[in-house]
Subunit: 425 residues, 2 copies
């Protein structure tokens, strides 16, 4: 019997009526001849309400206790979904992350799954039950403490369970129809993508696309697991994120060269001005930042001025880490020997993603021409094999996204991207 | 270092401010030189809110899933209390019932604790932490399922943990000052009792006194553990429930003969009219009731009429089981061979409790005289060694409680019961 893992997010579980609707969909999947394992997030605003309660008690909650508190959220939704299924005459059993065998490291608040031992889940499925599992949570391997996986953690739970159970597909139910060529709130002509390679999806997620979290996509890639991202509010097909192996250039001749345009407003830029251009200067700066547990994204080092032997180093990092990094740099100013710091949190990042870039060198030229034609100045650039990203001024980001989306023929109401390039494919 | 187990009920944890107040009290207990293990109920109305959610999803929730849902309540409160303690600069660790080693049978919704293996609790206490444990919940020994203990379960958790940890005292914090000689809402002159024997407390709880649940008192008796029932809203001493051994008649010469007057409106009365007065007739009736999982309290069988050889059998049972029992009896009417059934749920039960009854035979006479003087008719009577209970009409119960309270000299504003009887003690 095929095994389907489904994941429902908080917006699909906002209230009792939503829960009943989700239960109906789960039961229908079971009746269609599948074993069904369901991963649920906390209902609607539950997590925010719990965080408000914590804030009312203390300004700085210990992370272990915060995890204890937040995991109550999925516990409620899993039990309610299970009850709603029972009310439809089918049999369901709910399990916490710990009971489901979701084993993590011991980093509270953003634990990583390191193993899944789904013995109880397999047993319950084998006994003919529908299984409901609390997403976003696990138990640490060494300390046996309750952990949470951080943002998007329920998606990761679903993919990890699907991999461990050797499921046929992992369906991620959300409140949008799938993955879009760009954020429809910015680009009104953006359309749903029917298929996208896992590799492309990874770049999209890493570049700010919010439908799927990066970690979940990485996990699916590692286990060669197809993900079907779709809406819990309709029965339309969503977007299939197919495994990497299948996504190699010559295998899927129908795949468009460009998968989509992603954007991200969560980064800030720091420029360290007047750094001595000697070996080890940049390393000293980034060692310092790294010691603050700050993840750096893009880095640009200018060509040094011949007269002074000095240069500027710019890098981007999460806005939320900005002040911490600036403070650390200021405190080490003498030691590092730079002249001044510039901090800019009014920036935007735009990324064009497509595995077709590998074989189509014209992509970059079209990309930069489109931005130039729209009068948008580029502050930083990075590229990967299948992605090109630029930093622009924050207030120009929407224009930039629209210009690039149009230039690559992604504006289409038929839900089909125009294939770029001259290969005739 | 002395070890104190404290339990705080939902009314003491109604909101963030209450939680901070409780945290302050816990930290003060720790600073006074004690190890502290705290058991918490769910906050204020949380349990009712969770039940409302379940009702909105299904009219008949599976009990396993209901336990999963309800246990989220204490999970929230334990984490929040722990955070509030951290905010005061002390260190706390919260544990679920399962983590705390509260092992139960597998009866969802009203599980019994069958073992406590508090290894993690002892470890955390030994490491210098204050420990917060979720009350009302455990994990079943055989099936490893999450269970709840039923009404008053958090008190039982506290006593069971106190026994397993060999604590010096178990403090039960509530919203009243302690155990009263009668319900102050009925008897305005009722006063707090400073000390009561566990044996008396058991009879009080079994007779309808609501401050402590019967199961918790039984547990404390078995482990010879003193309980201190007190208010979380003041620092006054409450009522000490001292172990049975200490409570023997001649040991505590200061103990009043009468501990208090309890009442109960939760019972109904069934009279089976015209039962053949032959061996086995009554047994057949009570076998039938017992098969319905109904607990019978009082039983009276009339003297049979010589002319007919028939008699009437009356018994009391929880109102909530009344219709079930009546239906079962009606269906077996021919088999049991009775004439008719009478069902009365407008009854009240009044109980006078005191270990002094053992040596003071005048107590019963005073009791019945007081009821007679107040014009209250008695429908049924039962007694134990230290209790006498009667059934009255429901609308006369309050009058009956007041009459008996006065007759035994319990009306006192000084918080000291007048000693009854002529022994000069």
């Amino acid at each position: 019997m095929p095994l389907v893992v489904q994941k429902y997010g908080g917006s699909s579980l906002a209230d009792a009526e939503s829960i009943k609707r989700v239960a109906r969909r789960i039961v229908d999947t079971r009746k269609a001849g599948n074993q069904v394992c369901v991963v649920v997030s906390a209902m609607g605003d539950t997590t925010d309400e719990l965080l408000d309660l914590a804030d009312a008690v203390t300004p700085s909650a210990p992370e272990r206790e915060l995890d204890m508190l937040l995991t109550a959220g999925e516990r409620m939704s899993m039990a309610l979904v299970s009850m709603a299924i029972a009310n439809l005459g089918d049999s369901a059993r709910s399990f916490t992350g710990s009971q489901a065998g979701v084993i993590t490291d011991d980093v509270h608040g953003k634990a990583r799954i390191i193993d899944v031992t789904p013995g109880r889940i397999s047993g319950a499925l084998g006994d003919g039950h529908i299984v409901i599992v609390a997403g976003f949570q696990g138990v640490s391997q060494n300390t046996k403490e309750i952990t949470t996986l951080g943002r998007g953690g329920s998606d990761t739970t679903a993919v990890a369970l699907a991999a461990a159970l050797n499921a046929d597909v992992c369906e991620i139910y959300t409140d949008v129809d799938g993955i879009f060529t760009a954020d429809p709130r910015i680009v009104s002509s953006a359309h749903k993508v029917d298929r996208i390679s896992n590799e492309e999806m990874q770049e999209m997620a890493a570049s700010g696309a919010k439908v799927l979290m990066l970690r979940c996509v990485e996990y699916a890639r590692r286990f060669n697991l197809p993900i079907h991202v779709r809406s819990s509010f309709s029965h339309r097909e969503g977007t299939w994120v197919y495994p990497a192996a299948e996504g190699e250039e010559d295998v899927d001749a129908e795949a468009p060269i460009i998968a989509g345009v992603a954007h991200d407003r969560s980064e800030a830029k720091i420029t360290v001005v007047g750094v001595k251009d000697t070996p080890g200067s940049a390393a000293a700066i980034f060692n310092l930042i790294s010691a603050q547990q700050v993840n750096i994204d893009m880095i640009v080092q200018n060509v040094s001025a011949v007269a002074t032997g000095k240069t500027d180093v710019s890098f981007t990092l999460p806005k939320s880490d900005g002040q911490r990094a600036v403070t650390a740099l200021q405190e080490a100013k003498d030691e590092l020997g730079f002249e001044s710091l510039q901090y800019d949190d009014q920036i935007g990042k735009l990324s064009l993603i497509g595995s077709g870039m590998r074989s189509h060198p014209g992509v970059s030229a079209t990309f930069f021409q489109a931005l130039a034609d729209a009068g948008i100045n580029i502050e930083m650039i990075t590229t990967s094999e299948i992605r090109v990203s630029v930093i622009t001024k924050g207030d120009l980001l929407d224009d930039a996204v629209r210009a690039v989306h149009t230039a690559f023929g992604l504006d289409s109401s038929e839900g089909e991207a125009v294939v770029y390039g001259g290969t005739g494919r």
